[in-house]
């Protein structure tokens, strides 16, 4: 994968040498793991090398895909960037935090959580992970707004209405509990909530998995439009090349915790090099 210096192309998110090991974090755990060994489990220590040596940059307005099957480590990478879990090693930097000079992994958990207000937002496969289902759609959006200091009830409602309009949720549903919403609608509310404070970086973890094909297509259309018009730097994690193809320009292929191939999405789809990539592409072609 080509690297860009900040001078040539300003990145919004930079990940370098990211690793996450469950169990013994010593180098001994690395031996015998990875795609060439067909496993992420260390034969000597039993540790799981969920992700290792993952590096990439994402520029504003760009979307990067991470593809792999379950257990490949793609979601682990996303959770480490989001701060939902701690990386074992490596660097994560956001342009919006001290102009990218701070490794987020060095921050206290409380400081990591604060970044989720304005600097980085995530949309999860399960809406219950990103939303409170027993709160109205408007109330869910009020959460990030009040967290950064919004104190006008009418102002919050106006902003929530704007966002819901943008994700094509009828305003008549604004005061309904999210629990009463369909899966696709919940996902739209989750996207609206993630965009509430105009974060420069957006993480999407299997955003359409589990939705009916027609519903998923609608959400993907919406996301593509949003990524184009907002200028957000996005990371899209999916097992589905269809999703990656629709939303991203560049892609990393992960297997057994390692990146096996990376490149421009359309080129990789056209001419996959690694056998695993070929397999994934073949699967997507049906």
């Amino acid at each position: 994968m080509s690297t860009h210096t900040p001078q040539s192309r300003p990145w919004a998110l930079k990940v370098s040498g990211l690793g996450r090991i469950y169990g013994d974090p010593s180098p001994a755990s690395l031996t015998g793991t990875g795609p060439e060994h067909g496993t992420a489990v260390s034969p000597s220590t039993g540790a799981v090398v969920a992700a290792w040596d993952v590096s990439f940059e994402v520029a504003p307005g760009e979307a990067l895909g991470i593809i792999g099957e379950s257990g490949s480590g793609k979601s682990t990478v996303m959770r480490c960037i989001a701060g939902d879990e701690a990386a074992t090693t490596g660097g994560i930097a956001l342009r919006s935090v001290a102009d990218g000079t701070v490794n987020l992994c060095d921050l206290l958990p409380s400081a990591r959580r604060r970044l989720r207000l304005k600097d980085i937002a995530a949309v999860y496969q399960d809406p219950a992970a990103g939303l409170n289902l027993d709160v109205t759609a408007g109330g869910n959006i009020a959460d990030p707004l009040t967290a950064v200091g919004w104190r006008s009830y009418d102002g919050i409602r106006q902003r929530a209405a704007e966002l819901l309009e943008r994700v094509e949720v009828p305003l008549s549903r604004m005061d309904d509990l999210v629990r009463t919403f369909s899966g696709g609608m919940r996902q739209r509310v989750q996207i609206a909530k993630a965009l509430a404070n105009d974060p420069p970086v957006l993480l999407l973890d299997e955003p359409t998995t589990g939705l009916d094909a027609s519903v998923a297509a609608g959400v993907l259309d919406l996301l593509r439009g949003l990524l184009e018009e907002t200028g957000v730097a996005a990371v899209v994690v999916s097992h589905d090349f269809g999703v990656i193809d629709m939303l991203t320009r560049r892609v990393l292929v992960m297997k057994h915790g390692r990146v096996v191939e990376s490149g421009l999405t359309d080129q990789l789809l056209e001419d996959p090099q690694h056998p695993y990539s070929q397999q994934l592409v073949a699967a997507a072609r049906g």
């Binding site: 009830y153 009418d154 409602r157 106006q158 209405a161 305003l171 604004m174 005061d175």
Partner: protein, 365 residues
């Protein structure tokens, strides 16, 4: 609230219409389980004070425990006792449901366990069938002496009764069924729940203390409630009732000096199977409380096992640490009897205002 104690000897003379108060030794000897329960829930060993508390609380053990604890709060803490191993326990009763005949024998002691629960309509002195007082009933005898004359109830030879048998858990350790004690035990200063409020996440010493002085009924309920959904039940490897010395370091020599003796009920329970195939040892749960209160120490040992099994932020940890104290729960119930009309007016005002509010909910501004 520290009301003048009635003078038992003269009460009848002053108020001939009022029944006489029970003597303290009547309470400690004849209503001993009530006195023990008050001491256990108070977390204070003081039999004569506890008897007085039971008398002044008109037999309500929770109220008696409150009197004892409030009395204790008036006194300074002068010293902290040194740890004592319960292998020193001089038992008056000791049974093991894990072994037919454990070393040291089954010592049935004083219990109602084996008596038919028949209300005796004869004066108690003549009936006497309701309590088994069999200080030494060897297990290999297999015979419980139900129909013996129990005249020796209070004349049992103390030398024969008080014994220091081997600890069943130690036998299980030797058999390799229970994890050996660490050579250098991780023995931090125990959490002191009387000085630091115990919150979920507190260490085992905090939950053991909380249960040891918890309300008996609440504790038994919480344990039994869990028996419904926890996968397997535990076996009390050993249940003992007996006396332990209390020692403090001598202020001048620093050497431990025995200053008192307390009676405790102690239970060590374990699961009948290892919980995971990879786990070689049986989990052990521990229960102990002041006085003779077997169901409390059994429930405590069962809950201790369960607590070790669940995360510190589980509901069980929350319930054990925050809902078992009798003073807390009854205090909350008591407070509902106080006037609340200032609050009530405030609630009513909001209810009326919400009713009057003309704006239909959800109208976007």
């Amino acid at each position: 609230m520290i009301t003048p104690a009635p003078a038992p000897a003269s009460a009848a003379a002053v108020h001939p219409e009022e029944p006489a108060w029970l003597e303290l030794d009547q309470l400690t000897e004849r209503l001993n389980l009530a006195v023990d329960r008050a001491m256990g829930e108070a977390g204070l060993w003081a039999p004569m004070l506890a008897a007085r508390a039971v008398r002044q609380a008109e037999g309500d053990p929770t109220e008696a425990a409150h009197l004892l604890r409030a009395h204790r709060a008036a006194l300074p803490r002068l010293a902290v006792s040194v740890p004592v191993a319960t292998s020193e326990l001089r038992v008056v009763r000791r049974i093991s449901s894990a072994f037919r005949n454990p070393p040291g024998g089954q010592i049935l002691g004083r219990t109602v366990d084996y008596a038919g629960r028949l209300l005796d309509l004869l004066p108690e002195d003549e009936g006497r069938a309701h309590v088994t007082d069999e200080p030494l009933a060897p297990a290999d005898d297999g015979h419980l002496h139900h129909d013996h004359d129990h005249d020796h109830e209070h004349s049992a030879d103390p030398v024969a009764v008080e014994r220091v048998p081997g600890n069943v858990l130690a036998i299980l350790r030797e058999m390799g069924l229970v994890a050996p004690l660490p050579e250098r035990p991780d023995d931090p200063e125990p959490y002191d729940i009387t000085r630091r409020p115990a919150r979920p996440g507190a260490p085992r010493s905090a939950w053991l203390q909380t249960m040891a002085r918890g309300d008996t009924g609440s504790l038994v309920h919480l344990w039994w409630y869990g028996c419904d959904w926890r996968p397997d039940h535990e076996i009390p490897g050993e249940l003992r009732h007996g006396a332990l010395p209390v020692r403090i370091a001598h202020p001048h020599t620093g050497k431990p000096v025995t200053v008192a003796e307390v009676r405790v009920s102690e239970v060590e329970s374990f699961y009948n199977v290892p919980r995971a195939a990879a786990q070689r040892h049986l989990g052990v749960g521990y229960g102990i409380c002041f006085g003779h209160n077997e169901r409390k120490s059994i429930a405590m040992a069962g809950l201790d096992l369960a607590l070790a099994h669940y995360d510190a932020d589980s509901e069980l940890h929350h319930d054990v640490l925050l809902t078992l104290d009798g003073l807390d729960s009854t205090g909350y119930a008591q407070h509902l009897k106080l006037p609340h009309h200032v609050e009530y007016r405030s609630v009513l005002d909001r209810a009326e205002a919400a009713g009057q509010d003309a704006n239909p909910p959800g109208e976007t501004a």
